[in-house]
Amino acid sequence: MIPLSYNVRNLAVRKATTIASASGIALVVFVLAAALMLSEGLARTMQTSGTADTAIVLRKGNDAELSSSIEDPTVGIIRSAPGVKAKSDGTPMAVGETLVVAFMETSDGKGKTNVQIRGVPADVMDFRTNVKLDEGRPAQPGTDEVIAGRAISGRFKGLKLGDSFELRKNRPVKVVGVFSAGGSAFESEVWGDVDVVREAFGRRGVVSSVRVRLDSPSRFEGFQAAIEGDKRLGLVAIPEPEFYERQSEGTTMFITVMGVLIAVFFSIGAMIGATITMYAAVANRRREVGVLRALGFTRTNIVLSFLFESLLIALIGGAMGVVAALAMGLVKFSMMNFSTWSEIVFQFTPTPRILAIALGFGGVMGVLGGFFPALRAASVSAVDAMRD
């Protein structure tokens, strides 16, 4: 086998072309890794919103809270269904909430987008124990006070602590607290009193969804049978993690497909760059290849050597791309969640699997880009090369 140091040193000798080719591959690896990290970040944000022992009940035929409506009397039936956990005072652990969207202006004034407003009952903090008030105080039930999620507070006009904004025209509300919710999608919401919110949006007497805490995740089937078995109710029950997974499916798929498509298009350019670099390397080292062939190295040895060199360029580029993508982990990103048509804030989330996929993609580009130049190198005749 031709020593690997031969390839490494040759790359070092022609630094400029090595870096140029590696940069092309770095860009592709960066785009792919960033897209996958974005997709992962959204999925994780949505997944952390759900807990295994919680079920969400929606109107049958609606797969999103925004379009679902459940009448108040039905909420009582859901709360008393079998499997619902009881608080220490014997009341069921369940919350009926109204979800609406408000069209709000971003704080930089560059655009407007939907923000989810959740009408919550007074005891919501007992139900969602991972929600913590970071600043200010809780909103007083029955008043025009709201609390804003950590992820969107400050990103929209009127959502900073102490600011006010119009929930609907002539319905101003004041932000009295900022909360965090373990990085979940709730941090991209504004929470206000359920009665105030549904009155403002003309949804009196109905909620969007009911969430119940079960005695254990294993009680879900019994609960589901009770809720869905009564055809008069027309409801559907879904475990909360599954609900959020479905919510993020469309958007994560969109991001992944877009990212992969862009990466594939870019990769064509990067591969052409790697191919040109390797063809130049072969042309410049024709005599060396001839000598190696004369000494007894086979065509396969030559092909592997040049493929390794191309792979090395790709891995250098891949490493550059992965490092750049990792730096994106520090950036928070907001985009429209297609299932709720609202802004959701999440982070680029790297995982070893994503980094391996991106690096592997770079490696494949290197091997494909170097394939034909390597074949050309192997076809060099020792006699002809040394006659040049």
């Binding site: 140091s5 031969y6 060396e288 000598v291 004369a294 086979t298 065509r299 006699v383 040394m386």
Partner: protein
């Protein structure tokens, strides 16, 4: 001298090159026997077929016609891969332009033929160092070709040609790029390899002074031995 003692046996060798529609016969019906342990010089005018003959004997090229037995093997029948393996075992090359790999040190260049053997890395390094000692370059082992003089580069080339203990050393104008003193040193090394290590050497040269160092001078003209 009996037939079995010949390490190179060529019979009825013909080599024709085709350039476009033109056929160029470089070697025609050539017979040649070289005994084991010989140091022979091959001379002749440019285009007489010296290098072509050397390439055939070294297994770098194939004859158009004829039988070619070198080191006990009919090499005209070997596949490309088999021929590569055969070269790595039996042939040591010394080139006019040295042909060292620029990014490798002297020791790494000398070690190259040993990478095709199953020797462990430590043994390869020891043998490369020994070969460099034989050519008097033990203090230049870590130098790259561009840090060596022409004469030193060719001595590294000689070390590379002998490191794997080949059956035959082929040298194509080994002194063509060197000054007289460096050329004498290289020729002295070849004599030493022939006399002390019993290596069979076939050298193509234009230089009569170089040819005189060989034990036999053969002259080639228009593709035939004179």
């Amino acid at each position: 001298m009996s037939e079995t003692e010949h390490i190179i046996k060529l019979k009825g060798i013909n080599k024709t090159f085709t350039r476009g529609k033109e056929r160029l016969e470089v070697l025609s019906d050539l017979d040649l026997n070289i005994p084991k342990g010989a140091f022979e010089a091959l001379m002749g005018p440019s285009g007489s077929g010296k290098t072509t003959l050397l390439n055939l004997i070294a297994g770098l090229d194939r004859p158009t016609k004829g039988s070619l037995e070198v080191a006990g093997q009919d090499i005209s029948k070997l596949s490309d891969g088999q021929l590569s393996k055969w070269r790595s075992s039996h042939i040591g090359f010394i080139f006019q332009h040295f042909n060292l790999i620029p990014v490798l040190t002297a020791q790494e260049n000398v070690e190259l033929p040993l990478l095709l053997t199953k020797l462990p890395a430590a043994e390869r390094k020891t043998r490369a160092a020994t070969a460099l000692r034989v050519v008097g370059l033990e203090d230049r082992m870590d130098h790259r070709p561009n840090q060596l003089s022409g004469g030193q580069e060719q001595r590294v080339g000689v070390a590379r040609a002998i490191v794997h203990d080949p059956t035959i050393i082929v040298a194509d104008e080994p002194t063509g790029e060197l000054d007289r003193q460096s050329a004498d040193e290289i020729l002295g090394l070849l004599e030493k390899l022939n006399k002390e290590f019993d290596k069979t050497i076939l050298m193509v040269t234009h230089d009569p002074a170089a040819a005189e160092r060989a034990t036999l001078i053969r002259k080639l003209d228009k593709g035939q031995l004179a």
